[in-house]
């Protein structure tokens, strides 16, 4: 038997699917103009990696007009196959969350109130405290051996750091003499 299909047949007639649906059988309501009234939103899905732990689950971030409208697990990702933990599944709230803190908050020792600070003040304060703590705790020689270290500062990296950030952080901490270098990527 011949293996011709309606689609090929329509092509031969020079018709599109929609034209065939409208001019063919009684399938669409007479007032096809209604279709124009249906509102469509345009979006795009972009694949990326979850920003939390080191498992590196795949995400699809859906955006419309540069706004994130949904984040879901990527079903084709070889590691996670669409699954996400509760944190990954709420990735949407990283950008869209009214409760997200967007400025540095400072609580001075002995107080219970948080005060909003700007980044210049915050980074300067952190730098000053790192410097004073490191200088006060620095051990250059121990038991006749040069150690050049501080045990008063620790660094905790995160799985969200990329290779370059992790390299810089390690270099920086080694430069300060920090020996307690840890990360949570093996959680």
């Amino acid at each position: 038997m011949m293996m011709i299909s309606r689609r090929k047949f329509l092509q031969m007639l020079g018709l599109t699917s929609a034209a065939a649906a409208m001019s063919g059988l009684d399938f669409l309501l007479p007032e096809e103009a209604e279709a124009i009234g249906i509102r469509l939103t345009n979006a795009v899905a972009t694949p990326t990696i979850c920003s939390y732990c080191s498992v590196g689950c795949g995400l699809l971030v859906h955006t419309s007009s540069n706004n994130i409208i949904n984040i879901e697990g990527d079903p084709d990702h070889p590691i996670s196959r669409g699954s996400l933990c509760s944190k990954g599944a709420s990735s949407y709230q990283i950008t869209n969350n009214a409760k997200r803190i967007t400025t540095p908050l400072y609580r001075a020792p002995g107080t219970n109130a948080w005060v909003t600070k700007d980044w210049t003040w915050t980074l300067t304060e952190i730098a000053n405290r790192v410097k004073s703590t490191r200088d006060a705790s620095f051990i250059d020689i121990e038991n006749g051996i040069t150690v050049n270290r501080t045990e008063a500062i620790a660094s905790l990296g995160g799985a969200a750091l990329d290779n370059e950030e992790a390299y810089l952080l390690t270099k920086f901490m080694r430069g300060l003499g920090v020996v307690y270098l840890e990360h949570q990527a093996r959680l």
Partner: protein, 265 residues
Amino acid sequence: MLSLTTLNGQKFIKELTKVQISWAEIIIQNYDVDHHYLDKLINEAQHLLLEDTLINISKQHVVNITMDIVKLLEIHQPKFKGDLLLLANKYDEFYEILLNGDDLSLLKWADKSNISPILIGYILDWILRPEKMALGKIVQPLLNDIKSWKSNCCPICNEPADIALLLKENGERHLGCSCCQVTWRYPRLVCAFCEEANPENLRYYFVEDAPEQQIHYCESCGNYLKTFDYRFTCEKPADLMLLNYMTAHLDVLAEQKGLGLKINN
């Protein structure tokens, strides 16, 4: 479900599918399934209908299926009454071309006989469908693994997918052939027509009042694929042909957006 398809149109497709399923069952009963052979064909990425020895349908079978379809058309599609009367006088010629002719000769014959070529196209599709559905039912269990069938074309009829489903469980995309009634796993971010894999060129529209209804399109080739996201609805996956016709408004909208001018290849 949001649809501009008439209730009569929906009823017609439901009854037509019922008839086709019953014919598919008869074909399966008379078919000695060689699962090993089918498995081999699928693994070798061979489209099953190209193996014309798989199922052979007799002329009587074709005649019976045609009569069932014409009966339903007479009841539900009175618009084609005149065409069906003309066809009734030329059944022998129709079967002769159907069984031994080709697509161009069928088109010429319809034109010469003053019978709507669109109607002939539909009838042709529906006559062939039970055979495709029978094969589809047999091979569907082999298609669920992403490694088993990687093509963007239907494993039965070799046509590009005409619908896609996003599954409730984890959003996997399964391409579907509404005619053969089979689905097979396919990556979400690969164009189902030109295999474009740059996600920046793969966009979609969704209906604001029914976000499960989507039009996925490729900016590289300009084709689109109607996609139904079952995570937005508690409905069970419908008969693909019914779903295809019930979402005909998406075809209209896609065309208005300048998509699909290559009519699915």
